[in-house]
């Protein structure tokens, strides 16, 4: 690049831009907004992933329980219970096999909030924080004394586990997290006590490993011996436990957590990419306006002999420079935004994946550099089309007719049509795995993500037509006779009708931001109403047994048949519905069996979720039919998720294998599908059969979940009276009113979708900020017109009305387009992304969510109109300064 390049770059591009602060601020603010959001999401992702991985790692086995490194030694095996805790006595059963060449230990792992005594910390200050405490108990090479993680050891040497129990570090192991390992049964008891889990105490898992390395034996041979021992051990466990233990390996646990991490990363990456796409569209809009202002200069340079390549080089260089400044500012903005949204992201992870404690925010050099560089490149990429169109400016005087105004082009219409094709075909394309991207191990609704991106591009492509359409309609409605009464509106409409790409920018930006807010609102609103319906039908009784969840594993204490009988015989209980549950695998994938009680109460309606049943079959009839098998084929109702996962439909037959009470597999159970039921609580999938059938096949009875009908309105009163009659039933079962259950479930739901608040907030911020800058910019661009209007005798107040009407037209068009795009986006989220990812049918376009969307559109539009008008007029005072200087 020679001196000429730099001289002209400075004189004709950079210097004039610096002399127009509004143009500069508007452009840089647009880039900063886009890159800031990108940075915030990246940082939030990093922090969330770090927090998630730290929490996930705390759950994986510590110490020497990992994968064996010795070539001749089989891998360590874990026994876990589908019901959560494993009884203390099971370790004794395990230890009986020590003589057969294995070692065994029980492990309990719990996050506890612990404090140290003052003066016991290296810095002299007391430690006070969450620590992952792992208790190991059994005939292994025990550690003997408490071991602290290196991170924890740096903070303290002594912690107080309970009021009377202190733990002093004897050794340490390398780990960046706060964790400690205790040994011996007392330690496990202490943890249980500290955690307040008296009702459901026991080990989290049992670990079994060959007692010594056998390097002289091949791995196959060692595995065969080990397998035989494990098989004998399984039989021994079966005799002691009603619920069979499930065998796994630490490797599998780690892999499953990795799979979760990948899925989580993928989802957040998709969100990030959507925000980048919106940011890029915003930048494209900013660039369009920016280059329109540069046209006169470019025309002169072209006339003076500058080639298109040179023009492109100059405009791109200036763009890159502004992108760099915007990127640096965006970095600062992103750091602040991250503080706002990371809490929401973490709440979502905690609910969707596992309880996650937030780590400190961290801006890595990589993220910082990526933000600045990507800001620059996104700006360059998004503005390339506008820059190329600038180079096509004819080398003639800008005031002459050879400089043609922007015309409505046809290609965006084709693009919009293509986008519609992508949007409406997205639900019909199956999800697939994309291992090269994010290493996700699960099939992803890629067509849905493309459909969502297509909505934004559709909105961008359609914006100029919509503005032209609205303007044409107003022009037609304001013929000269009417225009005399509505002068400002008539002029604004006629101007916008011919403004082409110039008018498109604010409309597209507003529509982009609004469509995201409305699309997400429609999806969340529909989801919430679907869940509310489900809760209303499934839990409409007064009091029921609580369903507890712990780390994604159900821990329902099963009540026995005898206890059920006593409950049913209790005078103040009118009836009890009972549910038996089991966790199984079908075609290699997990699902749940729900065995419904056949003793239906005639006094109450059948409390069930909505069914998809054959014509003429009612839900009550379907439930009653569950007990009526023929030729050993039993009717079953499957959940929608199960139906989608395994492609099974009403009338199809399939076979499942239940566990017997001893733990062994029962004879296969032949089932015929009666219909399917909606289900929003689990992505695993359910098969609903009669409890009677379940009992006969497995020998298991009792209930895992209860629904109790009573006239007593207060749960405290109910528990008091029940406790007086049956103390064991108040100890083993926690009771909660259906109202509280519903409230808790909806609160959980709100937590799950907390990320959507962050998204809506970003959308509002993005749309609002960029629209304001663009409106101010477009007002500035019309400076000569304001001067002409002033010369024609218009007052400053008249100019305010002109500005306001111009902005109103943009806002009206943008809101209308935002509503259309938002409805499309909501449809894609509900029917494509959500359905394919989770297999749930979500209500779409419910009255509440539509009303909320309209409110958002109205508030958004009105606020922007008001602020845009005020900003344009009071910041620029159009015509005011020219009157003072030139007239």
């Amino acid at each position: 690049m020679n001196t000429r390049f730099w001289k002209i770059l400075w004189a004709c591009f950079i210097k004039p831009t610096w002399k127009r602060p509004f143009l500069l601020i508007a452009s840089i603010a647009g880039i900063a907004a886009g890159t800031g959001i990108l940075c915030a999401l990246n940082m939030s992702n990093e922090r969330a992933i770090h927090s998630f991985e730290a929490s996930a790692q705390a759950l994986t086995p510590q110490g020497d329980s990992g994968t064996s490194t010795s070539p001749g030694t089989p891998q360590t095996v874990q026994w876990r219970s589908p019901r959560g805790k494993i009884a203390w006595e099971m370790l004794d059963t395990c230890l009986q096999f020590i003589s057969q060449g294995v070692q065994c230990r029980g492990v309990i792992s719990a996050p506890l909030h612990l404090k140290s005594a003052a003066g016991r910390s290296p810095e002299g200050s007391a430690f006070d924080g969450d620590v992952q405490v792992i208790g190991m108990d059994g005939g292994w090479e025990t550690l003997g004394a408490p071991a602290f993680s290196s991170a924890l050891a740096e903070k303290t040497h002594e912690l107080r586990l309970t009021a009377g129990a202190k733990i002093e570090a004897a050794s340490s192991f390398p780990s960046r997290d706060y964790s400690l390992i205790l040994s011996g049964r007392d330690a496990a008891l202490l943890i249980t006590q500290a955690r307040g889990l008296q009702g459901v105490s026991g080990y989290d898992w049992l670990e079994v490993s060959p007692s010594e390395t056998q390097e002289s034996v091949s791995l196959e041979a060692a595995n065969a011996v080990f397998e035989k021992t494990l098989a004998r051990m399984q039989l021994a466990f079966g005799k002691r436990s009603a619920i069979p233990l499930v065998r796994t390996t630490p490797q599998k646990v780690i892999e499953s957590q990795k799979a979760l991490t990948f899925t989580y990363r993928f989802n957040l990456k998709v969100l990030s990419m959507m925000s980048v796409l919106i940011g890029a569209l915003l930048v494209a809009n900013v660039a369009t306006l920016y280059f329109l202002l540069k046209r006169p200069t470019v025309a002169v340079l072209r006339q003076l002999g500058a080639s298109r390549k040179e023009i492109l080089a100059w405009v791109l260089f200036e763009q890159a420079l502004m992108g760099l400044i915007g990127g640096v500012l965006g970095l600062g903005l992103g750091v602040q935004l991250e503080k706002l949204i990371s809490g929401q992201v973490l709440r979502t992870i905690s609910d969707l994946y596992l309880k996650t404690a937030a780590t400190a925010p961290h801006l890595s050099f990589q993220t910082g550099a990526l933000t600045v560089v990507s800001g620059m490149f996104i700006f360059l990429g998004a503005g390339l089309s506008a820059a190329l169109s600038t180079t096509r400016v004819a080398p003639a005087a800008p005031g002459k007719r050879t400089v043609q105004p922007d015309k409505l082009r046809l290609w965006p219409a084709f693009l919009a049509a293509l986008c519609l094709l992508v949007i409406f075909s997205s639900p019909y394309l199956p999800p697939f795995k994309i291992p090269f991207l994010f290493e996700s191990s699960q099939a992803q609704p890629v067509a849905g993500y493309l459909g969502a991106a297509a909505v934004f591009i559709f909105s961008f492509a359609l914006s100029q037509y919509l503005l032209a359409g609205v303007s044409a309609a107003i022009t037609r409605l304001t013929p000269p006779r009417v225009a005399a009464r509505f002068t400002t509106l008539a002029i604004a409409a006629r101007r916008n009708l011919r403004s082409g790409a110039r008018g498109r920018a604010p409309v597209a930006t507003l529509a982009g931001g609004l469509s995201l807010a409305i699309g997400v609102t429609l999806m969340v609103g529909g989801f919430r109403e679907s869940l509310g319906d489900w809760l209303g039908t499934a839990f409409n009784a007064n009091i029921m047994g609580e369903v507890q969840s712990l780390q994604g594993t159900e821990t329902r204490p099963r009540i026995t048949e005898d206890q059920l009988g006593r409950l049913r015989a209790t005078p103040f209980i009118e009836g009890v519905d009972c549910l038996l549950l089991d966790d199984l695998e079908f075609r290699g994938r997990p699902f749940k069996v729900a065995a419904l009680d056949d003793a239906l109460l005639p006094k109450y309606p059948v409390p069930m979720v909505p069914f998809h049943l054959p014509d003429g079959m009612t839900p009550k009839l379907a439930l009653e039919s569950l007990t009526k098998g023929a030729e050993n084929v039993w009717p079953a109702i499957i959940s929608e998720t199960f139906s989608n996962k395994f492609k099974l439909n009403p009338g199809d037959r399939f076979e499942i294998t239940l566990h017997e009470s001893g733990g062994a597999a029962a004879a296969p159970l032949q089932l015929r599908i009666l219909g399917s039921a909606r289900e929003y609580s689990s992505e695993l999938g359910y098969v609903i059969i009669a409890r009677d059938t379940f009992k006969r096949h497995t020998g298991l009875d009792g209930c895992n979940s209860l629904r109790i009908y009573t006239q007593i309105q207060s749960s405290e009163e109910f528990i008091r009276r029940l406790g007086a009659l049956h103390p064991d039933l108040t100890r083993d079962v926690k009771y909660i009113t259906s109202h509280d259950l519903r409230t808790n479930a909806l609160r959980t739901f709100n937590d799950t979708f907390a990320i959507t608040d962050a998204l809506a907030m970003l959308a509002a911020l993005l749309g609002g900020l960029s629209l304001l800058t663009q409106l101010v910019q477009s007002t500035a661009e019309r400076a000569p017109e304001w001067l002409t209007l002033r010369r024609m005798g218009n007052t400053w107040r008249d100019l305010f009305r002109f500005c306001s009407m111009d902005i109103l037209l943009s806002v009206l068009s943008g809101v209308f387009l935002g509503l259309i795009s938002g409805v499309l986006l909501g449809w894609v989220l509900c029917y494509s992304i959500n359905y394919q990812a989770f297999g749930w049918t979500v209500k779409y376009g419910t009255p509440d969510s539509i009303l909320k969307s309209l409110k958002i559109a109205a508030v958004f539009g009105t606020t922007l109109w008001a602020f845009g008008s005020l900003a344009s007029v009071f910041v620029l005072r159009p015509g005011e300064k020219w009157r003072l200087k030139r007239e």
Partner: protein
Amino acid sequence: MISARALEKYFPPVRALGPVDFDIPAGSQVALLGESGSGKSTLLNLLGCMEVPSSGDLEMQGKLTRGLSEKELAEMRLRKIGYVHQFFDLISDLNALENVMLPMWMAGDAESETRATDLLKSLGLGHRLTQTASLLSGGEQQRVAIARALSLSPSLILADEPSGSLDSSTGEAVVTLLLELTKKAGSTLIMATHSPAAAARFEHFIRLKDGKIVEKNLPKVKE
């Protein structure tokens, strides 16, 4: 020399010019006359290499413009042609001196400042060198535009109604300036004008109507 043969320009569906034929020897001073919409500006744009003919040939200094690449056309505009517009077309954010230096920068002229200063001083703008273009009067802006057009001593100066937006005395002064300076430099001057007074200053002319030459008086081409 400039030579046009069956030169035509269409802006579909409108034929803006042609077919026209003429020869203009180097160093001539020719007025381009005609009513609005007669094709004066279109012809000037073709001569200024800002448009390419739809059909016919335009030969400038021995080169046919139709076969020139985008880069060669740009080079022609920079080195061989100076353009003065009715609306000046200065870059409003640059000062007078910078506007004149602009073509010199583009041509890689290291002595641009001295030459541009001399040019502006010779046009009576020595006291306005650092004044931003948008704050100059109309006459001053047009003189800056003339200085810019002459800055690389091009062989052809094209002026499109240079006095059109000026008062009569200033307009007359601008025309005088153009005639004197191009004569002194030996450049060809082709000036489109509506003004009978300005047209009267030219010995040679081309009169256009509806895109066609209806009358012309051009110097004879030496064989």
